[in-house]
């Protein structure tokens, strides 16, 4: 880590900074007293085959005790590298300069051994993937005790064990004493993340860094884990650095926000400043790109075109300029510095933005206009009442049961997994139907059953009038494949890495017997249709960004002009800014080509944005189905209510005051599904019911009932006469029951 190599091309001021690093007690005069962590001018460079990548370029922030800083940005913006640099976890080849001070003590330049005194003690980290951050061969208790032993060698064995039990209890693991001896594989993902948090707070750290702690988890579990993080922070009084790409997650948690782009903070400020008064186009774009689960009104999302810059070349102008709609010549003259823009000033961080036009931007500027968000496309089917449209897909009582076998030689059946259990719904022309639910509820199995289209299936699948029961010879199947195409979740895995884009798109066309010149013409059309440059057809998929690859996937699905496209989590693998572009594209295609979609998603905000109708699934059954606005605004089933309340909304004020239902536990294994209502084990209504009424939930299976329009008394104006039947159906005996108080959480103190 010699500074000589870099000092030559640094300015005098920067050179002084670097020199300050090596003087033992050199003070940065601007660090406020009381800050538990202050980072100044942090720079990280990596040497790669292609040149030096300047991954983090001058990050400054101060963290006060008990406060939370949210670092937000796209992938590759340098947020994780920043946290790794603070923790000293970067490889030795990385060149880190600047200053990181923990309670006044300089951390940069310390040896690995010296850092070990701080890591896990004063500073702790929670990683993104809970499945791989625990060692599988040691018990959970062992791993917590290890963290205690390292930093408290004198602690007695009993004391350590008692502390471990206390920690597990603190993060909400039931019967912590017995679970101490459990191995990581006996825990679900959410539970493992709780254990990680327990390990992180074991030594009462002053700083807790959480790197995308909930990205790998389901929404209901995410709500639980965020809650645990919140309690952990309250218990220990630690300052938290929360790194995420999800603006919703930080809205309720953070006090300050730092938005990073291309390795540089481009806007900093208090939560309210950033969310309600963004002054930098990138922040505005990010906020506009997130669909809202709580807004019914249809507006297009704000797409941010282009991809983040390559950090091998030092940007000559503003790094966001190539993607910025407001770019002018002045933007290309040198990179703008973070300048104060005069916010409310209620956070630790002053509201600063790195944009020469921040004066003109403010709360009253319409982000949709700036980013030229497309008009909301209108399909020709939108005007036709639903009942008059043709059905493109009908499912009647579709079931998929997997037998569970045990035994090596003689296999015997020990149970049945009811992955899909009696599903019936239909999709009409020009409509988007979504299935939502936690992972493991049978969403994807449903899709696979539809794609399978086989005579021996349990239940009837009818695609564009072709039934799987009637004739499933090769000819019918081929006809059916023309009606129905699929877009996969992972755009990288769904494209053959050895095919050029041309070959990818040509495959379905060749299969349908199209002539070569016609195929070429069609491919050029398709490329343009999904917003890709036609001359990119010779490239291989790995030369495209994730969003572009998903566009190729969409183009392939559209190649044979299907009526129905099945979308399996089409945007969950994409960055927020890219996601908006793909969602807008899907919306546009639905309107222009009159497509119908069957979408599976766990992100309810995306579902709300794009769908017309929605079905909520729980353990292989639909528990609520209906028009998306009805279901989301007036959910009747307690599970729907819990799901909706678990979604974080990118609105700090709303997030602070709204009440949340935190479901207890995880999705039960489909193997021991309850006999009565599937949801009874986790149901907040059930928990509050008197024992006499609980009996009904435990013994009878609630059928899907048609909901009536809400009475005006609820404060919501009903569209028709009161108690008119709606499209909405739900399966619950006590939809209006009281919720159990234990499962409700309201943060009014924030």
């Amino acid at each position: 880590m010699s500074s000589e190599t870099t000092a030559t091309d640094l300015s005098t001021a920067e050179r002084l900074h670097v020199a300050g690093l090596h003087s033992a007690h050199g003070h940065y005069s601007d660090a406020p007293a009381g800050a538990v962590l202050s980072v100044r001018d942090l720079n990280v460079r990596f040497n790669t085959e292609n040149g030096v990548v300047h991954a983090v370029r001058g990050v400054d922030f101060d963290l006060m005790p008990g406060k939370t800083l949210g670092i937000v940005g796209e992938s590759g913006s340098g947020k994780s590298v920043t946290s790794m640099a603070i923790m000293g976890l970067l490889p030795e080849t990385a060149e880190v300069t600047g200053s990181v001070r923990l309670k006044g003590q300089e951390l940069l330049g310390l040896s690995d051994k010296a850092m070990c005194r701080y890591r896990g003690n004063e500073m702790a980290m929670v990683f993104q993937d809970p499945l791989s951050s625990l060692t599988p061969v040691y018990t959970v208790g062992n791993q917590i005790i290890e963290a205690l032993t390292v930093h408290n060698p004198t602690m007695s064995k009993q004391a350590k064990e008692a502390r471990a039990v206390e920690l597990l209890g603190m993060v909400g693991i039931p019967s912590p004493k017995d679970r101490l001896k459990a191995f990581p594989h006996e825990f679900s993902g959410g539970m493992r993340q709780r254990v990680m948090i327990a390990i992180a707070i074991a030594n009462n750290p002053r700083v807790l860094i959480a790197d995308e702690p909930t990205t790998a988890l389901d929404v209901t579990i995410q709500a639980q884990v965020l809650e645990v993080l919140h309690t952990a922070q309250e218990e220990t009084g630690a300052a938290v650095v929360m790194i995420t790409h999800d603006l919703g997650v930080v809205a309720g948690m953070a006090d300050d926000i730092m938005v990073m782009y291309a390795g540089k903070p481009v806007e900093t400020g208090s939560v309210d400043d950033i969310y309600y008064n963004p002054r930098m186009p990138y922040t505005m774009g990010l906020l506009g790109a997130v669909p809202r689960v709580d807004v019914a009104e249809k507006t297009s999302l704000v797409p941010i075109e282009g991809i983040p810059p390559n950090l091998i070349h030092a940007p000559t102008g503003c790094s966001f300029a190539p993607r910025c709609p407001l770019v002018s010549d002045a933007c290309l003259q040198g990179e703008p510095a973070l300048a104060p823009v005069g916010g409310t000033g209620d956070g630790t961080l002053e509201h600063r933005a790195a944009c020469i036009k921040s004066e003109d931007l403010g709360a009253d500027v319409d982000v949709h206009q700036i980013f030229h968000a497309p008009e909301v496309p209108v399909s020709r089917f939108d005007a036709v009442p639903r009942a008059e449209r043709k059905a493109v897909l009908e499912l009647t009582d579709v079931k998929k049961h997997f037998p569970l076998m045990k035994g090596a030689l003689l296999k015997r059946r020990i149970g049945t997994v009811k992955a899909v259990d009696g599903l019936s719904f239909d999709i009409r022309e020009g409509e988007c139907f979504s299935i939502v639910g936690e992972s493991g509820c049978g969403k994807t199995t449903t899709l696979l059953e539809i794609m399978e289209f086989h005579r021996d299936q349990d239940g009837e699948v009818k695609i564009g009038g072709l039934s799987n029961k009637a004739a499933s010879d090769a000819k019918t199947k081929a006809a059916m494949r023309k009606e129905l195409q699929m877009v996969f979740q992972d755009p990288t895995g769904a494209l053959d890495p050895r095919f050029t884009v041309y070959e990818v798109l040509a495959e379905p066309l060749e299969n349908s017997g199209m002539a070569k010149p016609a195929i070429r013409k069609r491919i050029m059309e398709l490329m343009e249709l999904v917003g890709l440059q036609p001359d990119h057809v010779n490239r291989f998929p790995n030369q495209f960004s994730g969003g572009q690859r998903q566009r190729i996937g969409i183009a392939r699905a559209l190649a044979v002009n299907p009526k129905l496209v099945v979308l399996d989590e089409p945007v969950s693998a994409l960055d927020v800014s890219v996601q908006a572009g793909v969602i807008n594209l899907l919306d546009l295609l639905r309107a222009e080509l009159g497509l119908s979609y069957l979408m599976v998603a766990h992100d309810l905000s995306v579902v709300r944005h794009i769908s017309n109708r929605v079905a909520v699934m729980y353990l292989g059954k639909i528990v609520e189905i209906g028009d998306v606005d009805n279901v989301f605004d007036n959910p009747r089933h307690p599970y729907t209510r819990a799901l909706l309340s678990a979604i974080p909304v990118p609105d700090p004020q709303l997030e602070r005051t709204r009440e949340r239902i935190i479901l207890q536990g995880d999705l039960p294994s489909p193997l021991d599904a309850p006999t009565g209502c599937n949801f009874a084990t986790r149901c907040p209504v059930f928990a509050a019911l008197p024992a006499a009424k609980q009996e009904k939930c435990l013994t009878l299976e609630p059928p899907l009932e048609t909901a009536t329009a809400p009475a005006p008394a609820t404060g919501r104006p009903a569209d028709g006469p009161p108690s008119a039947p709606t499209d909405q159906q739900f399966a619950c005996f006590y939809p209006d029951g009281e919720l159990d108080a234990d499962m409700l959480v309201v943060h009014e103190s924030l």
Binding site: V52, M486, D490, P497, E503, M524, E525
Partner: protein
């Protein structure tokens, strides 16, 4: 955005451009370009091609052939008459080397290519059908792996295969025996690779598009194990050449009067100090042969592998510091 039915001049021009084929570049051209970018690989290819050509037409550069004995030059070093000297029997070493190289390359290429082909077909079939077919085929494979190849080669090429030996030249016999024992490892590898490929989304996508199974295997499975196949072919060729040398060396491979590099090396080992040229000449040729194949390996993999960093010469930039 675009209206599918609109006809505008730009689109017409675009169409003309497509027709003239300057938009769509054939994949083979991309692969060749990528291969040519790797200097080491190209050098390897050049050496290999030169050796092959030499082994085929090398005879015309010398008036001697592999059977004529020169009674005046027995066991002589390189001279103007005999470029590489003569063997102990008085046969021109150049002619012998040319002949030996040809036999070695022939054995290497045939065994390398055919065994990988057998392995690919066998492995893909196992993976595609699965179940009972997989189990039975796997059992046969395991049984073959257990067989002591060395003994079978020894028996087939010497005592046991008398009837065969009279009908077939020894090099062909060696090819057949090497083939039988060479493909199993690759077949197992290919089976497991294709099994994991079958689970990938793009294979599912092809199935959902209604592409017939045969085409999925041919267009998605085989190319995706392609870089492995290419590597295995070059490795198989090298392996077969070395196996031939080894078998001939211990005297159970190619039999005199047939010549191969292995036979030449084997004959010369006992008198390296007295007749060094008899040993070093065939050994150098063998090194060039196997070395050139090893040099090609890397370039071939890069050319066929889409995830290689080779994205165009324009973007290549060396680290300066």
């Amino acid at each position: 955005m675009t209206n599918l039915n609109a006809i505008d001049p730009a689109a017409v021009a675009e169409e003309a451009k497509i027709e003239n084929n300057d938009v769509v570049i054939a994949k083979s051209r991309i692969i060749v370009r990528r291969f040519l970018r790797n200097k080491t690989a190209v050098t390897g290819l050049v050496i290999f091609v030169l050796l092959t050509v030499l082994s085929l037409i090398g005879g015309i550069f010398s008036s001697w052939d592999k059977e004529t004995i020169d009674p005046f030059n027995i066991g002589m070093g390189p001279s103007s008459e005999h470029l590489l000297g003569t063997s102990q029997a008085g046969i021109d070493l150049y002619a012998l080397t040319v002949e030996g190289t040809r036999v070695s390359i022939l054995i290497g290429l045939v065994v390398g290519l055919v065994s990988v082909l057998i392995a690919a077909v066998y492995g893909c079939t196992m993976a595609y059908f699965g179940g009972k077919v997989d189990k039975v085929m796997l059992f046969i494979l395991e049984a073959l792996i257990m067989m002591p190849a060395l003994l079978v080669v020894a028996v087939a090429t010497s005592g046991g295969g008398n009837g065969l030996q009279q009908n077939l030249p020894s090099w062909l016999l060696l090819i057949i025996v090497l083939l039988i024992f060479n493909w199993m490892g690759t077949a197992r590898l290919i089976r497991s690779l294709s099994m994991s490929l079958m689970q990938r989304d793009f294979v599912k996508a092809a199935q959902y598009m209604g592409i017939p199974a045969r085409r999925i295997v041919w267009r998605h499975l085989v190319p995706n194990i392609g870089s492995l196949l290419v590597l295995d072919i070059t490795r198989g060729v090298t392996g077969a050449i070395l196996a031939e040398v080894a078998f001939s060396f211990i005297g159970i491979g190619i039999k005199v009067p047939d010549v191969s590099l292995g036979v030449l090396i084997g004959q010369a080992t006992s008198q390296v100090s007295t007749f060094p040229w008899m040993f070093w000449v065939p050994l150098t040729v063998m090194f060039l042969l196997t070395g050139s194949l090893a040099m090609m390996n890397d370039g071939l993999r890069d050319a066929f592998d889409p995830s290689s960093s080779s994205i165009g010469s324009a973007k290549k930039k060396k680290k300066t510091s």
